[in-house]
């Protein structure tokens, strides 16, 4: 019998496990859930559990379209019903948005199948390689926007998330990469970059999300700069669906001088 390719295993039902990382709106010591980003892990017990290996493999197989669709299905299917009113952000390759001309219809059907309002969806554009058919890409984004879906651009400041991509995608969210965020408290140059991103986002009528926030000192500096949408291990690890359900995110207080764990398990 012919052995299955890894791609077959990835695309099997249950092949991909979504985990969910919250994005918080932080104001002073208050911390409220703004959105949840779905992150995908590959089949357990394989090399593909690591997302960087998984998506490198998928790219080399040229299978972004099929895998992105499977990621969307998995993210929606596993998303806790109790959080239906909370924005759900799902990563999709720019190349999929460019080439999969039926993506918006697919997304609408997948959302309907899970009784999920597309207006509560954010499509987060990721890309590690250069691509470009502008017309296909922008047409798909327009179709998504007509469904009420918001657009985020991931990894701003590194790789393919450059000014050109900003102009083509006109995102509603600028997600700033961890490499720019980490250590901002002590680095005036990082502060300058983040201030300029905030200014730029304002001109796009977009909001800025700081990714990879791991230190309280960085969080304080981000808030001083004016960036209040925060994602990172400091506030919450990515959580499996069941854990997310048993976690209260509605509102939390941060203690003086430290950030308390925002999630309250076992409720």
């Amino acid at each position: 019998m012919k052995e299955k390719l890894m791609l077959d295993i990835i695309l099997e039902p249950g092949g991909m496990l979504p985990v969910y990382q919250p994005i918080f709106k932080v104001a002073g010591n208050d911390c409220a859930l703004h959105a949840v980003e779905s992150l995908i892990r590959g089949p357990q017990g394989t090399n593909m559990q690591s997302p960087v290996i998984l998506f490198e493999y998928v790219r080399r197989k040229g299978a972004e379209k099929a895998v992105d669709r499977a990621c969307v299905r998995a993210a929606l299917a596993e998303y806790p019903r109790l959080l239906q009113g909370v924005l759900l952000s799902i990563n999709v390759h720019a190349s999929t948005l460019e080439r999969d001309r039926e993506f918006a219809n697919f997304l609408q059907s997948a959302a309907e199948a899970n009784s999920f309002d597309p207006k509560n969806l954010i499509i987060e554009i990721v890309e590690s390689v250069s691509f470009w058919d502008r017309s296909g890409f922008t047409a798909t984004l327009e179709e998504l926007r007509s469904l009420g879906v918001a657009i985020a651009l991931d990894d701003i400041g590194v790789g393919q998330s450059n000014y050109r991509m900003l102009l083509e995608s006109r995102p509603d969210y600028f997600k700033v990469d961890r490499h720019i965020v980490n250590g901002v408290y002590s680095d005036p140059f990082r502060q300058a970059v983040l201030e300029s991103v905030l200014l730029l986002a304002g001109r796009f009528n977009a909001r800025v999300v700081a990714e990879g926030v791991e230190q309280k000192k960085d969080l304080d500096t981000l808030l001083e700069i004016g960036i209040d949408l925060i994602q990172g291990y400091l506030l919450s690890l990515p959580l499996e669906s069941a854990r997310l359900v048993s976690t209260s995110f509605a509102q939390s207080k941060m203690g003086e001088g430290e950030v308390k764990a925002v999630s309250v398990a076992g409720n």
Binding site: E3, M6, N47, I53, Y57, R60
Partner: protein, 131 residues
């Protein structure tokens, strides 16, 4: 002074035959190697993109269309990691393929079947710089 512990020897084994892959992984793990394995060219390349290995042992013919996927792995690994040691195994070798493998940067070209102990000896010599 405390003696410095030897750094772990990391090996990536690439073969599309699951039983062979498992047997080789088991053997090298038992000899204190840290072993990763892959069954496809793209899987091996994805792993080599993000991890450094002391040595790669790849079969020439994997599941694919041209039957020389191992050469592509050697080429990719040599470009990305100039100091990595590379072994290519094959049951379908020819002088032309061997010549091409050497041009791609393979360190040792071995014909299958090869006893595990003999392969381990080659690996050990490569890592000790004796080859």
């Amino acid at each position: 002074m405390k003696e410095k512990a030897p750094s772990p020897r990391r090996v990536l084994i690439v073969d599309d035959k699951e039983p062979i892959l498992k047997a080789m992984a088991k053997y090298f793990r038992a000899h204190d190697y840290i072993v990763d394995s892959a069954r496809e060219q793209e899987e091996a390349e994805a792993m080599l993109t993000h991890s450094d290995y002391s040595i790669v042992i790849a079969d020439l013919r994997l599941t694919g269309i041209n039957g020389t996927e191992g050469l592509n792995i050697v080429r990719f690994a040599r470009q990305r990691w100039p100091n990595m040691r590379l072994i290519l195994l094959t049951a379908y070798g020819s002088p032309e393929i061997e010549q091409e493998a050497r041009c791609c940067g393979v360190d040792v070209f071995l014909h299958k079947p090869i006893p595990m102990g003999e392969l381990a000896q080659v690996v050990s010599e490569l890592l000790e710089g004796k080859r």
